[in-house]
């Protein structure tokens, strides 16, 4: 449930190492390379951290089934899984496995973590994508408007709304939306990614991607598409509004900066229309920090998706993670968290490269 502190929002977030190293040579190619290489220490640190944290409790097997087995049975299980060897040997083996793309196998149902990621990753990616759209659709226009009418009542109202969306935990927001739109008004479904019949169709089409909207579009059946979209409305709103407030504040703060700059005054004195002034002159430079922050936001959305998916029974990675958490399957939890670390690091890399393409100041 992290929200970036305002000082990180209002100034461009810094990637100190990347910037420092890129300063010497300059050039986009060099920046991309350095930034790419920086993925590895990040992933390495997080994976190491998770590994040693999980080993502090002893081992995942004792933690999950310790009380229910006799000592000899437990010893057997530990030996079979290799947990009776020195921690450092296990750590090296674990790192070696990760390098080969093997994130382990769950202890409750013996499934490879990578398989879980492939099966449920699509659903989470779909949800995060919807949420980003909602966040941008609400955050950017309202932020622009708030900056333009600064300190008047709409500004105060939007800022209050932004704080309110931040202060509401996603699962409570979800609960309220469900209560109003599904139970009281009966407009939208209570949960799940699609109705049972539609899920059956979508899971069984050849070459299913697991991303329901793509699969639904491929069937070309309007009813199926409609069903999938209806199910997505509440989860997308729940997760998206959480981030919308952050985008709103970010756009507002940056727009206030650029609206007060001299080139905007100059353009105004040349007789450029106010709407155009806001949309192009002031907005474009304010766009860069939004893209840079988007990387952190995607990480946050992934965290938020655990809660959103649990709230709506949206069967994605977060939902599965919660299932394994309640089953006390800590091998699975460790594997999924490590895998997410990789995904977050790669996403941040992509976002930083996009930002560098747009804003030359980042790469020099």
């Amino acid at each position: 449930m992290t929200v970036i502190p305002p000082e990180a929002i209002e100034s461009e977030p810094t990637k100190p190492q990347a910037q420092r190293s890129a300063k010497g040579g300059g050039g986009l190619g060099r920046y991309v390379l350095v930034r790419f290489l920086l993925i590895f220490p990040t992933v390495f640190i997080l994976v190491t951290l998770v590994f040693f944290l999980m080993r502090v409790i002893g081992n995942p097997i004792t933690a999950s089934v310790g009380g229910r087995l006799t000592p000899s049975q437990l010893q057997e299980r530990l030996h079979a899984a290799g947990y009776d060897r020195p921690v450092f040997v296990q750590y090296l083996e674990y790192l070696g496995n990760i390098v080969r793309g093997d994130f382990g196998t769950t202890s409750t149902d013996n499934r490879p973590i990578t398989e879980i990621i492939v099966t449920y990753g699509g659903a989470t990616a779909e949800l995060v994508f919807y949420a980003l759209i909602v966040a941008l659709l609400f955050g950017i226009p309202l932020g622009m408007l708030a900056a333009y009418v600064r300190d008047k009542w709409p500004d105060v109202l939007f800022r209050a709304l932004a704080i309110l969306t931040y202060a509401t935990p996603v699962f409570f927001g979800g609960l309220l939306l469900k209560l109003v739109f599904s139970v009281w008004l009966g407009w939208l479904p209570l949960g799940d990614r699609a109705s049972t019949r539609v899920s059956l169709i979508l899971d069984n089409i050849p070459g299913a991607t697991g991303i329901y909207i793509i699969d639904a579009l491929r069937t070309g059946n309007a009813q199926v598409i409609g069903d999938v979209l209806l199910h997505a409305v509440l989860p997308a709103l729940t997760l998206g509004l959480l981030t919308a407030g952050i985008f709103l504040r970010l756009v507002r703060a940056n727009m206030i900066g650029s609206l007060g700059s001299e080139y905007v005054d100059a353009a105004r004195s040349r007789g450029v229309r106010e709407s155009r002034l806001v949309r192009t002159h002031a907005f474009r430079p304010a766009l860069v920090p939004i893209i840079t922050v988007m990387g952190l936001q995607i990480a946050m959305l992934l965290g938020g998706s655990v809660l959103t998916e649990t709230t709506f029974g949206w069967r994605g990675l977060g939902f599965e993670l919660n299932q394994y958490l309640s089953a006390r399957d800590f091998v699975a939890v460790q594997g999924i968290v490590a895998m997410l670390a990789v995904i977050v690091a790669v996403t941040n890399f992509v976002v930083d490269v996009v930002a560098a393409f747009i804003d030359p100041r980042v790469r020099f």
């Binding site: 935990p169 609960l175 139970v183 809660l307 968290v337 977050v344």
Partner: protein, 331 residues
């Protein structure tokens, strides 16, 4: 961030305390926001301290003094003003006792993370070298990672799934600490790096003052400007993380203590049958507390930021001057 010029050393001590300074400098709705935030937080503090006096029943109580069990999912009534849950708990009493849990976790989390973060940031920024590089990379890696996932891992480690009250509070607080230490670290480190080369620090070094004394007297005193702001962010996030952990079943069990996130996770299935009181009340309790803390943080940020501070007052000043003499504007 916080402008040190806001503090006049000749004022009495109480007028120099963090929130009081900003309160005196604030105007208009910024002051309104600050006051609202302070009032809300004070209210929760009172509720947390006096929980047993305010709540009509215990948080784990299932039957009244007459030995009769409470109704299950009973709607709000004179005996149970906010109704009862599926398990037969009194919602109002659990919300009241939940304030105590939340306040405890926030206090422990903030104190621990501020202590560790400030010390690490100061030492790392002032001394520099390889330790500094490693700490920065680690802090950046943790910062970019979804904090809830990290908190889950830490809370597995600490509690291993058990749910005693003090154990749960410590587990939640430490999980939050791990996430927030990097934020304090970054801010204090940046300040320490800046101060390291300031003239007064250098002269202290030339005089042969020992590094620890320089760090505590010269660097630390000057690097705490933006701490109140991060502190409020940390506090509001601590509440949300605690609720998130509780929602995922890593909080405090229903008989060990009352925790809003746990209650909300139980309430989720009630919604389908139209039972709203089990979820809405604990949820609103979270939202209002986070709002209160955030209001304080927001207004502190606005007041200390020269770009956002006291615009209206300045405008009035300018227009008044403009009306009396044109010289004012020229000067």
């Amino acid at each position: 961030m916080a402008d040190t010029s806001l503090v006049d050393r000749h004022e009495p001590l109480w007028k120099r305390l963090p929130v009081v300074v900003q309160l005196r400098k604030s105007t208009g709705w910024q002051r309104g926001m600050l006051v609202t935030g302070v009032v809300i937080c004070a209210l929760y503090l009172v509720v947390a301290l006096a929980a047993p006096l305010i709540a009509p029943y215990g948080f784990g109580q299932l039957q009244g003094a007459d030995g009769q069990s409470f109704p299950r999912t009973g709607s709000p009534s004179p005996e149970h003003i906010w109704g009862t849950t599926v398990g037969g708990f009194d919602v109002f009493s659990r919300v009241v006792f939940g304030a105590r849990t939340a306040v405890l976790v926030v206090v422990v989390a903030v104190v621990v993370s501020i202590t560790i973060g400030v010390i690490l940031g100061m030492v790392s920024g002032y001394l520099g070298g390889w330790l500094d590089r490693i700490l920065v990379v680690v802090a950046d890696a943790i910062y970019a990672f979804p904090s809830l996932l990290l908190a889950i891992v830490v809370s597995i480690v600490i509690s291993g799934g058990n749910s005693s009250y003090s154990g749960g509070i410590v587990a939640a607080a430490i999980s939050i600490t791990v996430v927030y230490v990097p934020q304090y670290f970054r801010v204090v480190r940046a300040e320490a790096v800046r101060l390291r080369n300031e003239a007064f620090v250098e002269s202290a070094r030339v005089l042969g003052t020992n590094p620890w004394r320089i760090m505590t007297r010269h660097v630390l005193r000057n690097s705490t400007r933006s701490l109140p702001l991060i502190l409020t962010l940390n506090a509001s996030d601590a509440i949300l993380t605690l609720a998130g952990l509780g929602f995922l079943g890593f909080g405090i069990g229903p008989t060990a203590g009352a925790e809003w996130g746990y209650d909300l996770s139980r309430a989720l299935s009630d919604v389908a049958s139209g039972v709203w009181w089990t979820g809405v009340f604990p949820g609103v309790a979270i939202v209002v507390l986070v709002l209160g803390v955030t209001f304080i943080g927001e207004s502190l940020n606005d007041i200390s930021d020269p770009r956002l501070r006291a615009r209206r007052r300045l405008k009035q000043l300018v227009s008044r001057r403009g009306a009396t003499s044109t010289e004012g504007a020229a000067a």
